[in-house]
């Protein structure tokens, strides 16, 4: 709820009661339309030359990712989606009521983040048994982690088949309410695994938590 309000551009302001009611309704509409699915696979990580990281056979050239994965021996490749039903719902609502559509859109984004957090915690609990601790998840398109890495990541996870997540030729995920990410795993327990927004350098962002 708080997240959805933030996505709607309220910043630290509170929303009025009517908008809150609309948000609550929109959450349940989005939940009903969603066919939430996720997939993960764990790979060995090797940090090679300066900024290169090898995840399985995939070599990624990114300073931000290599910083994110520093000290990790393994990495989880992760894909999640709310499914095409949510896209349809928002498109349908856009035709009849834009304010409602914008709220559904924010709720969908919030729901997806929440779902990813839950799944990540679950993965984390399993890996703790093997003495591995997760880092915050990191997605292609952030920092200098090129969006184009989405393609091999989705191939390695076989996303189209396993969770129905595909990509357009311009690297947009379809269904649109979807995430791919790399989650580092190290032997050393460092910090809270689901911190995301705060780690970003863009401190003047209007959507910042």
């Amino acid at each position: 709820m708080k997240e959805a309000i933030r996505y709607l551009g309220y910043g630290r302001n509170t929303a009025d009661e009517r908008t809150c009611t609309m948000i609550r309704n929109a959450f349940s509409e989005v939940e009903n339309a969603a066919g939430t699915k996720c997939i993960c696979r764990i790979f060995d990580v090797e940090q090679t030359a300066d900024n290169n990281t090898a995840i399985g056979n995939l070599i990624i050239d990114s300073r931000s990712l290599s910083r994110n994965l520093k000290g990790c021996t393994k990495a989880v490749l992760f894909g999640a989606t709310l499914g095409a039903g949510v896209d349809r719902l928002i498109r349908r609502t856009s035709l009849t009521d834009m304010s409602h559509a914008v709220i559904q859109q924010a709720c969908a984004a919030a729901l997806l983040e929440e779902y990813c957090d839950e799944q990540q915690l679950a993965i984390g609990r399993k890996l703790e048994n093997e003495g591995l601790y997760l880092r915050p998840r990191f997605s292609p398109g952030y920092g200098d982690f090129d969006i184009r890495y989405q393609e091999p990541i989705m191939r390695m996870l076989d996303c189209a088949k396993t969770i129905g997540l595909t990509m357009t030729s311009s690297y947009m995920m379809t269904p649109t309410k979807s995430v791919t990410a790399v989650i580092g795993a190290s032997r050393i327990k460092e910090r809270c695994p689901v911190a995301g927004c705060e780690a970003c350098g863009k401190s003047d962002c209007e959507y910042r938590r």
Binding site: R18, N57, G83, A84, S94, L95, M156, K161, G164
Partner: protein
């Protein structure tokens, strides 16, 4: 031929390929099909092991071999596919069996069939994704042609999670090869495809396209598949294929594995055969060991031969509708006949108007939507195709293609995602010759009108005779009675006193004597009479009572809906009267009005205490429209716009820019203003007054970009400020934008892009605009943009938010 054995004896498929290749060193993400060329001996060996284990049908290693998925250096796709077929044939010989073409020579060897394996493209089709239906078709087509040339014995389309892609693949196989076609889809525990389709809708689609066998593969283990299989057995008239994984996927040490053992697997498969599967095999995680155990256990079993099912089903991408269970509602509103606004929308290519008609009807209870876009001066095939495509992206109801234009009918049936209802064929030979081949090819449930060369028979006897003629003629095409719905025809009682009685008798006899489903355009009955809803609702009830399977009505007519709910409650077709109670328990005198946004008129009854300006500032849609109606009785519309509407919008817009009003409120106000404008526009249309538009603006989300919510926000606001907006939609080619700008002599274009990868096409669009329409200004917006970026790609203006774009547009057109 495998067709001679299919459905008569049990046939065995092979098992997994991917898992075995991974054991032999295939890396995650590496394309398995490259091994056909680089390590053919490994592929051949695996095939051979399956044949020895007992497989009658072996899949070629071509699951991902299509131009959209398979991009490998130094590896031709054609060679990869053709080699794959050859490897199965060679393996058969090595295993001491006979490839299909050499069998039947009396050498006593077991026959092995090479099935060309076709998997999904890995892309999502339009409009949810960016892959065009025909592009998908082409990708499948070339592989299938190569497969047939190389000697494949059948085509096996599998692991499909989208009915639309499934349809493209089956059509490609049917139109370009003469091979038998098997098709299986991947269901989850909810018994749905990833895209939402249920089992009956998948079966309806595939049976309509005349595949040879259909079924389930992948996704689940044999045990979890059983509930899905149960549904298949219930609804399918064709042989059923079942190919489970070796259980649900598990992970250990970073590796995916499956843990149902060969013996367990065989045990489940025995049960699956006894339930009704005719072709069995394995998918992910199954090995020659599993197939061997399965062959040992099930090899001698008798199958349950598939039986013809009698259901009349139409489907959309996401659901199936059964005719003959209660009476279904077919919404009639997407039709220009007698509707001025609708005609105008068609002429102006205002698809959104049409889509909203669809949404409203669904909200009001329609089960199927009739789609008629025929007007003398429009390109009906193109319009029909576009309307169907757009409708199926926002409404999950099955559609009824309503046209007399065979070309439009075929265009729509081809791209329709499901098994459509078709309106209509008549008893005229010419009509049947034209329509039945299309139904035969694409599938569908067709409405047969009880009229022929001699016109409409005046009595029930004559109409029943024509119905029988239609059914008999359809049978010649292999179209069963279950796929025909007869229209008994309602003739107005104002000119035909016995009209209603004849129609009702026809309905009853069609049901009792002919055993066919029926349909009626109900409201024709009252044509020319006053207070038509009174007659319509009564006749509707009588028609349902006489067996009407589906009424073509206006679901927004409360009288008709009352009749529908009451009939179903009265006839025990509404368990515990739940639907009736759900609809009417909270209704007081006013009725209707769903108020999806949670905003109901604050004023009780007719009088609101708010001013129009306040109602817009507060974003109260219903109030705004109500107050405007009252106000416009004594005030000039233009005056209302200038003294109430525009100041309210300005006030809210200023608040948004200052950070005291937020996006949802801004849009609620915009929606409220829109509803007020609609009232005023109606009034002005009637008085012939015209409100000057400030100017025309083209909006588009650029090529490659499919996020359009930002663009839609800008659109709503610009329209509020009296701009004429031409919305070209999302993923728009630069050429189309330039062409539109030139044709309409447009002064301002707004472009949106979400990601760095699509800003490239924004830049390209601007470049082409500068060349082709130098007078036109360009404003841009979108998540990744900022002023610097906008300057870099040569935009005239960067709008940080929607209000800034409005402000820029107003300044530009004021100057």
């Amino acid at each position: 031929m495998i067709r001679d054995r299919l459905g008569k004896e049990l046939l065995l498929f092979d098992g997994g390929m991917g898992t075995l290749l991974q054991e032999r060193g295939l890396a995650p993400g590496e394309l398995p099909e490259t091994w056909n060329i680089s390590r053919p001996e490994v592929i051949r060996e695996i095939h051979k092991n399956y044949i020895k284990a007992g497989s009658d049908i072996v899949l070629t290693n071509t699951f991902g071999a299509n131009a959209l998925k398979f991009q490998a250096e130094g590896c031709s796709l054609e060679q990869t596919v053709k080699t794959a077929v050859r490897l199965v044939k060679e393996a058969a010989k090595k295993a001491g069996a006979a490839p299909a073409e050499t069998s039947g020579t009396g050498n006593g060897k077991r026959t092995v069939y090479a099935a060309l394996d076709i998997g999904p493209t890995g892309k999502l089709l339009k409009p949810m994704g960016d892959l065009d239906f025909e592009e998908a078709y082409e990708a499948f087509k070339e592989v299938m042609i190569w497969g047939e040339e190389a000697g494949a014995d059948l085509i096996h389309i599998e692991t499909m999670s989208d009915t639309y892609e499934l349809k493209a693949a089956v059509l490609a196989a049917k139109e370009n090869t003469s091979l038998p076609v098997f098709a299986t889809a991947i269901f989850d525990e909810r018994r749905k495809l990833l895209t939402g389709a249920d089992v009956p809708s998948v079966i309806a689609l595939l049976e309509g396209l005349h595949v040879d066998a259909l079924g389930i593969n992948c996704g689940m283990g044999p045990e979890q598949m059983m509930p899905v299989l149960e549904e298949y057995v219930k609804y399918s008239s064709l042989p059923i294929i079942v190919k489970p994984n070796a259980g649900l996927p598990k992970q250990r040490g970073g590796q995916t594995y499956y843990d149902v053992s060969p013996d367990e697997f065989a045990g489940y498969m025995e049960k699956i055969v006894s339930m009704g599967a005719c072709v069995i095999g394995g998918c992910c995680g199954t090995t020659p060991g599993h197939i061997k155990a399965m062959a040992d256990r099930c090899g001698k079993m008798q199958i349950v031969p598939p039986a013809e099912k009698k259901y009349t089903v139409v489907s959309s991408y996401g659901q199936s509708v059964f005719l003959g269970e209660g009476s279904k509602i077919i919404g009639e509103r997407i039709n220009p006949t007698g509707k001025k606004k609708f005609k105008q929308a068609l002429k102006e290519h205002d698809l959104e108007y049409i889509l909203r008609e669809g949404i409203t009807q669904q909200d009001n209870g329609a089960h199927i939507l009739d789609v008629n876009v025929g007007l003398p001066d429009i390109d009906e095939p193109a319009m029909m195709k576009e309307t169907v495509q757009e409708l199926q992206s926002v409404v999950n109801l099955p559609l009824q293609i309503d046209t007399v234009d065979a070309e439009a009918m075929e265009a729509a049936l081809r791209i329709y995602n499901g098994k459509a209802m078709v309106n209509s064929v008549s008893g005229k030979q010419e009509s049947m010759d034209k329509v039945f081949p299309l139904i035969r090819k694409y599938g569908g449930v067709v409405i047969g009108l009880t009229l022929d060369e001699d016109g409409i028979p005046a009595d029930a006897e004559g109409r029943v005779r024509i119905a029988r003629k239609i059914i008999d003629e359809a049978a010649k095409y292999g179209i069963g009675k279950k796929d025909i719905v007869i229209d008994a025809l309602a003739m107005t009682i104002s000119s035909e006193p016995a009209g209603a009685k004849v129609t009702l008798e026809t309905l009853r006899r069609l049901k009792d004597e002919v055993g066919v489903n029926t349909v009626l355009g109900v409201s024709n009955i009252s044509f020319g009479l006053p207070s038509r809803p009174v007659i319509n609702a009564a006749f509707y009830t009588m028609a349902m009572m006489n067996g009407l399977s589906a009424g073509i009505i206006n679901p927004s007519s409360e009288d008709m809906m009352k009749a529908w709910y009451a009939y179903h409650a009265l006839m025990g077709l509404d368990t515990n009267c739940e639907r009736y109670i759900g609809r009417y328990s909270s209704t007081q005198s006013s009725g209707g009005g769903s108020g999806a946004a949670g905003a109901s008129p604050s004023g009780i009854g007719q009088k609101s205490t708010l001013s129009l300006r306040e109602s817009i500032e507060k974003g109260l849609k219903e109030d705004a429209s109500l107050i405007t109606t009252h106000l416009s009785e004594k005030q000039d519309p233009l005056e209302i716009i200038n003294t109430e509407l525009i100041p309210a919008l300005n006030h809210v817009g200023d608040g948004f820019e200052k950070g005291t009003v937020f996006l949802p409120q801004l849009l609620m106000s915009a929606e409220a203003a829109k509803s007020a404008f609609a009232v005023l526009k109606d009034k002005m249309d009637r008085s012939g007054e015209v409100q000057e538009k400030i100017g025309t603006i083209v909006l588009a989300t650029v090529k490659g970009d499919i996020h359009d919510i930002g663009k839609n926000i800008v659109k709503v606001l610009l329209e509020n400020y009296s701009f004429d907006v031409i919305d070209l939609g999302k993923d728009v080619a630069p050429e189309l934008i330039v062409e539109t700008v030139r044709e309409k002599n447009v002064r301002l274009v707004g472009l949106s892009a979400l990601m760095t990868t699509t800003v490239v096409s924004m830049e390209e669009t601007i470049r082409l605009l500068r060349e082709g329409a130098p007078q036109c200004k360009v404003m841009v917006g979108g998540a990744v943009l900022n002023q610097d970026y906008a300057d870099m790609i040569g935009a005239d203006f960067y709008g940080k938010d929607a209000m800034q774009s409005v402000r820029y547009a107003r300044e530009l057109f004021a100057g």
